[in-house]
């Protein structure tokens, strides 16, 4: 029987610039579960996401996915949606998304226009990304999560710059992802619109 994947961190310690951000942090999320990381500004929410994404090295402890996809590391099974949108202003919306679909997925599973329609920016498909508003840029980044399937979504303030309709749309996408057996770790200040268990950093 195929075990369902589980993300866990044990005794994770993070040091940035010689200062200890947090220590002894433990967390766990199974398939279909979302973890909301909360804490005051500077508590280390982004640092935790970047630790899971392999973009920072932990000063101690372990982060791993049990029964994930074969031999892949945690970052290779994850999507990271950070503060920066990873878009090239000189390229069109379709070119931006096609590139990430090809680069991350080696060929798209979902057609590009479908992904754009799902996040509500189908009409911008030929527009250079330079002309998008902040909310549209965020929606285009979200389309990346749909274009290439990944087990774990690491989201850093995902609803920033999204309007109310956009937040509802995104909550729907997250619910779909969880229903498909995915995992979500999101750093957030506001409600995400889905059922989450809370991981509070700092006090």
């Amino acid at each position: 029987m195929q075990l369902s994947p589980r993300l866990f961190g044990r005794d994770v310690r993070c040091v940035r610039g010689g200062r200890e951000v947090f220590t002894g942090l433990a967390f766990e999320a199974g398939a279909g579960e979302a973890l909301a990381v909360t804490g005051h500004n500077g508590a280390g929410k982004t640092s935790l996401l970047r630790l899971i994404a392999g973009l920072l090295l932990p000063a101690g402890g372990t982060i791993a996915i049990e029964s994930g996809e074969g031999e892949l590391t945690v970052p290779e099974q994850a999507h990271y949606l950070g503060h920066r949108d990873a878009l090239k202003p000189a390229l069109s919306v379709a070119e931006n998304l096609t590139f990430w679909a090809d680069f991350l997925g080696g060929g798209t599973i979902r057609p590009i226009p479908d992904c754009l329609a799902a996040v509500g920016i189908a009409h911008t498909i030929d527009l250079p990304a330079a002309y998008l508003s902040a909310g549209q840029r965020r929606r285009l980044s979200l389309a990346r999560l749909l274009a290439v399937p990944r087990l774990l979504w690491l989201l850093d303030e995902p609803t920033a710059a999204l309007d109310v309709a956009g937040q509802a749309m995104f909550a729907g996408l997250m619910r779909e992802h969880l229903a498909g057996g995915g995992l979500i770790v999101a750093a957030t200040h506001g409600p995400l619109g889905i059922d989450t268990s809370e991981l509070r950093i700092g006090n």
């Binding site: 392999g54 973009l55 920072l56 920066r84 990873a86 070119e95 590139f99 991350l104 080696g106």
Partner: protein, 222 residues
Amino acid sequence: MTALGALIRRDIRIALRIGGGALIGVLFFLTVVVLMPFAVGPDLALLTRLGPAILWLGALLSSLLTLDRLFTADHEDGSLDLIVMSRTPLELACAAKALAHWLAAGLPLVIATPVLGLLLNLDATATGAVALTLLAGTPALTFIGMIGAALAVTMHRGGLLLAVLVLPLSIPVLIFGVAASQAAIVGPLPFGAPFSILCALSLVSFVIGPFAAATSLRNGLD
């Protein structure tokens, strides 16, 4: 392979679009070489003798000028994070980026060389020899420069640092590039010996460049 092809296509496309920076290198190269005859004066024999060196210096400096952006642009907009996380080995991704950079910024220098050879009183053979050495040598400049570009990203200060790091490593390429060109034009050394060493330098840089850059990027992101 899809992933690497996509990366190469994207980088070339960005470089060739308005504000992409591929043309800046060629323009700088043109400027340096066009100004040189005015500075040296109308001594045709002297120009012929200095020609290969001038062309090589122009190519070296213009490659330094454009290499600065190799990783910085991706770092600033967050693309580099995703490239590091992806299932494509970072070494291959670095090599693909360097290849794209060379196709967009290095190859145009080789193509511009025959035109500029006229200004420096180089005959067809001489121009061909210089273009051939540039074709063999500029990839080495790009792949060595990539190490500096990766270090500059991780240290958050590009520009001057890149030049200081990369120039000493580029000197052998410059020496053998000019030596091979001179050998073809005036002799007495055979063309083959310095040219082989130049090709060897390029091959070595293909191996060392991607690994060093990938290691630097992996350890330096924050």
